[in-house]
């Protein structure tokens, strides 16, 4: 089983004629994902890798019966692209774009509360159900199908931890990168809830980082609602306060909230073992079985 994406996911790639969009559309197709259309204003009628391109998401969805989109649109136009996707009743929108202004995302978040679509990202690597579909930029070859779910705020950290799992023969149900920005569509709690309900997921790995209080909220959710065991990792223990560590959301505020320590403590209290290294996270997962 899996969460959010599977064999039946039919994908529109927004921005498919751009450098990133084209490259990753090809990668997604090579992985076996059903990429059914592209959407780029002014490029309707063209095609990329035999995938037909439409001028609007609406036309792409109608013509190809798509139910998900992946957004590879530059930051200045990305919020508009997400609004367009949200207007077509898709089940899922995955926004890869990094650097979308926070106030644009606040408006997107408002719109999101009025529709039934799930948004993953922005500033994320995407989502993959190994062997079935990948929506985003994750390197498919390091993943293996299995029974462990993974949710992470960071792309490359996801790869690192997945690699540690796969090397030991521990495969994944679905791995989802929720993104490193202050305002994102899908939270840890949303993903954990879905993993808890997924019969194929027997354990979950949650990779957090400094900034915000999402990990703390996840810890309360785990202690109250989850039977599935969760192992954790928190990046940014050595980050100084007030400095933005790459991710727009990875910043420890002056008042001491959002530190790695407070997150690790909250997770430990919820019964989640937190690894000091990615290797240790895999040890914890192995101990669950």
């Amino acid at each position: 089983m899996s969460i959010f994406v599977d064999d039946d996911t039919r994908v529109v790639v927004q921005g498919i004629t751009g450098g990133e969009g084209r490259f990753h559309a090809e990668q997604m197709i090579d992985y076996g994902t059903n990429v059914v259309a592209g959407a780029v204003p002014g490029k309707g009628g063209e095609s990329v890798q035999d995938v037909p391109v439409y001028d609007t998401v609406d036309r792409a969805v109608e013509a190809e019966d798509a139910n998900a989109s992946v957004v590879f649109v530059p930051p200045a136009f990305a919020a508009d692209a997400i609004f367009e996707a949200l207007d077509t009743d898709l089940d899922l929108v995955v926004a890869i774009t990094e650097g979308i202004p926070t106030q644009d995302m606040a408006r997107v978040k408002k719109r999101l509360s009025e529709v039934d679509t799930r948004l993953i990202g922005p500033n994320c690597p995407g989502i993959i159900t190994p062997g079935e579909a990948k929506l985003g930029i994750l390197p498919g070859n390091i993943f293996a199908a299995g029974n462990v779910g993974l949710v992470s705020r960071s792309g490359t950290l996801t790869y690192q931890v997945v690699d540690n799992l796969t090397q030991r023969g521990i495969g994944q149900t679905t791995a989802v990168g929720i993104g490193g920005d202050p305002i994102i569509g899908t939270s840890f709690v949303d993903a954990l809830e879905a993993f808890e309900d997924d019969t194929g997921t027997d354990a979950v790995v949650m990779c957090g980082e400094i900034g915000g209080e999402d990990e703390e909220r996840a810890a309360s959710f785990i202690s109250e609602y989850m039977d599935t065991p969760v192992a954790g990792f928190i990046a940014g223990r050595t980050a100084p306060p007030g400095k933005r560590m790459g991710h727009a959301g990875a910043i420890v505020s002056g008042s001491g909230t959002g530190t790695a320590e407070s997150k690790i403590e909250a997770l430990n209290e919820a019964g989640v073992p937190v690894g000091d290294t990615p290797e240790e996270v895999a040890d914890h997962v192995e101990n669950f079985f």
Partner: protein, 382 residues
């Protein structure tokens, strides 16, 4: 990106928020000219990007010309938490009877802006928020409609601002929200808003931070960025367009992706070393970017050894390897030992290309980090 108080105050004044009369000065004689025009008492306020300027001696109130000269000499050129004061704001002193806090920020948990008013102004508002959160009235704003006038009134009445000043204070709050929205601020606040003995309401301080991701559509704000307050290396990183934060250790760290780079820092610390920096080359980096990253880290005199940690997704291992080779072959001898760990997309191709006469290669993150720490110890022993 932070604006200086004088920059933020100019923006506030242009938007109609009352601020005290002031002049910017960068020398003692300019300070004296300013007080001659403004009169006494006059506040002399260091323009540096640090909190708690007053407590650190960066704000003084001069009662006469002699005091103004003494304080100007003291403050100009002083070191304030690591930053040299090059400019001061000379401002008409305000005789106040009450101090309020008014601000707008993004509540990331809620995913929308929040407007705040408190009668506990003039003090550390974060401490107030922690100890007596009920002393701050909060109104969340729907970003698609903006703050409605009733919300500003509600916040002001909920905070128990004296009734006769409710209209003025809610006016300031509304204007701050509009600025927050129009100028892509991440935070905007006035602490304190002073109620003067003449029953006037003025913004005695001004904080305005801008969302760096939105600077592309705020060109006139981008121009206000004060690079004088950046570390030399951080400025160079800005020119290279690299995500870089300087730290105090001796192990230089280069990687791709914020989470993985932070993890590399944490592992250096975990295995007993000290990270010298955070440097994220970002996704899809080409050889030139890799060269710039190495150049930047080598130019930090504290760095004794470097660890390169790449887990390719978008980023391709062969491009990274080519960049490392090019950067290092330019030196007669490599200035500081470099350990490389390469995984993910095209890692195998990268390993074949990588010139192992110039770098050490380790197969895992843990081993690479430990080797880099060991390399600093060798340097120290020499």
């Amino acid at each position: 990106m932070k604006l200086h108080e004088h920059q933020a105050k100019q923006i506030f004044a242009d938007a109609g928020i009352p601020v005290p009369e002031s002049r910017l000065a960068s020398s003692v004689s300019e300070v004296l000219d300013a007080v001659d025009e403004i009169g006494f008492p006059a506040a002399i306020k260091a323009q540096v990007h640090v909190g708690g300027r007053g407590k650190a001696g960066g704000i003084k109130i001069a009662g006469d010309r002699e005091e103004a000269e003494t304080y100007a000499e003291e403050i100009l050129g002083m070191d304030l938490k690591g930053y040299t004061v090059e400019k001061v704001l000379v401002e008409a002193g305000v005789d106040f009877v009450d101090e309020l806090y008014v601000g707008v920020t993004m509540d990331r948990g809620e995913g929308r802006p929040v407007a705040m008013v408190s009668t506990e102004g003039g003090v550390d508002i974060e401490q107030v928020a922690e100890e007596t959160p009920e002393a701050i009235a909060r109104e969340h704003v729907d970003p698609s409609f903006g703050m409605q006038p009733y919300q500003a009134r509600k916040a002001v009445y909920d905070a128990d601002v004296p009734r006769e000043f409710a209209r003025d204070v809610s006016g300031i709050l509304s204007t701050l929200y509009d600025l927050f929205d129009e100028r892509d601020a991440s935070e905007i606040e006035v602490n304190p808003v002073m109620i003067t003995s003449d029953d006037e309401v003025v913004a005695a301080d001004a904080v305005m931070n801008i969302d760096e991701d939105a600077l592309f559509r705020q060109p006139e704000l981008a121009e206000l960025e004060d690079e004088a307050y950046e570390d030399d290396l951080e400025r160079k990183a800005g020119e290279y367009d690299l995500d870089y934060v300087r730290l105090s250790g001796n192990v230089g760290i280069i990687g791709n992706g914020a989470g993985l780079v932070m993890t590399t820092l944490d592992l250096v610390d975990y295995y007993g070393g000290e990270p010298a920096n955070f440097l994220d080359i970002g996704g899809g980096a080409k050889a030139e970017r890799v060269r710039n990253a190495l150049d930047l880290v080598f130019s930090d005199p504290n760095v004794e050894s470097v660890v390169f940690n790449i887990f390719g997704g978008i980023t391709r291992g062969d491009e990274v390897a080519r960049g490392i080779n090019e950067a290092l072959s330019a030196f007669e001898t490599v200035p500081k030992p470099v350990v490389v760990r390469l995984a993910g997309t095209n890692a195998e191709e990268g390993m074949e290309i990588l010139d192992t006469d110039l770098v050490d290669v380790e197969p895992t993150l843990e081993e690479a980090v430990q080797r880099a720490i060991a390399n600093t110890e060798e340097v120290t022993e020499e």
